[in-house]
Symmetry: none
Subunit: 221 residues, 2 copies
């Protein structure tokens, strides 16, 4: 289930492309401005970036990404057949490009090439399991053990636990948790986080997660 960030301000193209790609089985997040795009690009497996954006150049965004060593594949969409833009884009680190207008089918094919062949580097660098005292998270099996017995977590509980277990001792605000686990769209209320923390606490029968009143939560180190 690959997550794609679509940066497109065209009010027709954006939503229709989103729908098309979702029908193809991808998870999409559509934003219209670079400001929104910059919030947390790391959590995506791929970025599709319109080159002609109102609040700045796509090129700068791409440059920033690469400067931060974020090597997610980026497919750029250029409106005209502007050779200079394409060359600049590729030199800056775009993985591929499409010139508008294009066939959605072709875009899908190119997306698959990128996703199949090049897993994002943070995925490679992350180990496939995580130990924290009595807690053991196996990412490959997607299983969680606590004190040697398996506990069943739902998807959200799992994501939440993993997010916090990766950085034990660090404080997370509810907003940060929502951003990183839920994403920018379907953004539930902050109380939802509480409910999931409760579930995890009940299932592990232990206070792995500490409450920081007025702040958020923290994983015991």
């Amino acid at each position: 289930m690959s997550k794609i960030l679509l940066v497109e301000d065209d009010e027709n193209l954006g939503p229709s492309l989103k729908k098309y790609l979702e029908d193809e089985g991808f998870t999409l997040e559509l934003v219209a401005t670079l400001k929104l795009a910059k919030r947390d690009p790391k959590k995506f497996d791929m970025i599709i970036l319109d080159w002609m954006l109102p609040d700045g150049q796509g090129l700068d965004f791409l440059r920033e990404l690469r400067a931060q060593k974020i090597n997610i594949p980026v497919i750029m969409l250029t409106a005209r057949a502007d050779l200079v833009d394409r060359i600049l884009g590729l030199e800056t680190g775009a993985s591929d490009y499409m010139t508008k207008p294009f066939e959605p089918r072709e875009l899908v094919a190119r997306i698959r090439v990128q996703l199949r062949n090049v897993k994002s580097s943070h995925e490679f660098l992350e180990s496939d399991h995580l130990d924290l005292g009595a807690l053991h998270i196996d990412d490959l099996k997607r299983e969680v053990y606590f004190e040697d017995h398996k506990i069943e977590l739902t998807k959200m509980e799992y994501e939440l636990l993993r997010l916090m277990a990766r950085e034990p001792g660090r404080a997370f605000s509810r907003e940060e948790i929502l951003n990183k686990v839920w994403g920018m769209e379907n953004y539930p209320s902050t109380r939802t986080v509480d409910t999931h923390v409760l579930q995890i606490r009940q299932k592990t029968k232990d206070d792995l997660i500490e409450t920081l009143r007025g702040i958020g939560y923290r994983m015991k180190a």
Copy 2:
């Protein structure tokens, strides 16, 4: 430990990379020309190939290897702007690529992924059958037995079962299953996977395959 052939003519990068990888526990052989590389590539477990070589194209070397049915993983090192080369390389059968400059750490991670893949498929190829509790897959005959009686599976069902049985306990997303069983061309909807899982479940009359809601499926270990 794994033997790696490093084809790199850069007098700085070559030796330093060799040392770095040797410190990581790999056995390295560094050659600067394709002529040397071609001597006996078969004896290595992996090849790391610089794309920009003086005495010819890395692409040709790769093509030769694959023509001789030598399926050693090849990681190619390319410059950023060589989009065409990258795509050509992957289409010719490169396993992965790194764009220079890169983090040695990341290269190591990618090497491990490739070696792991080869190992599992190699192990599987060596033995012509596979046992998993009451399930027995005879890959030579292409027959499947469950609790000592034969069950008839169609091609897709067989491929799907074999993919998952090869790594019991591991979680597979529908996208990964589609990629590995169906490949890139004629890519059906993700629900197709569900249907085939259903068929297998009905034919084996057992929950060999667990559902991971929101994630995908997993073979019982």
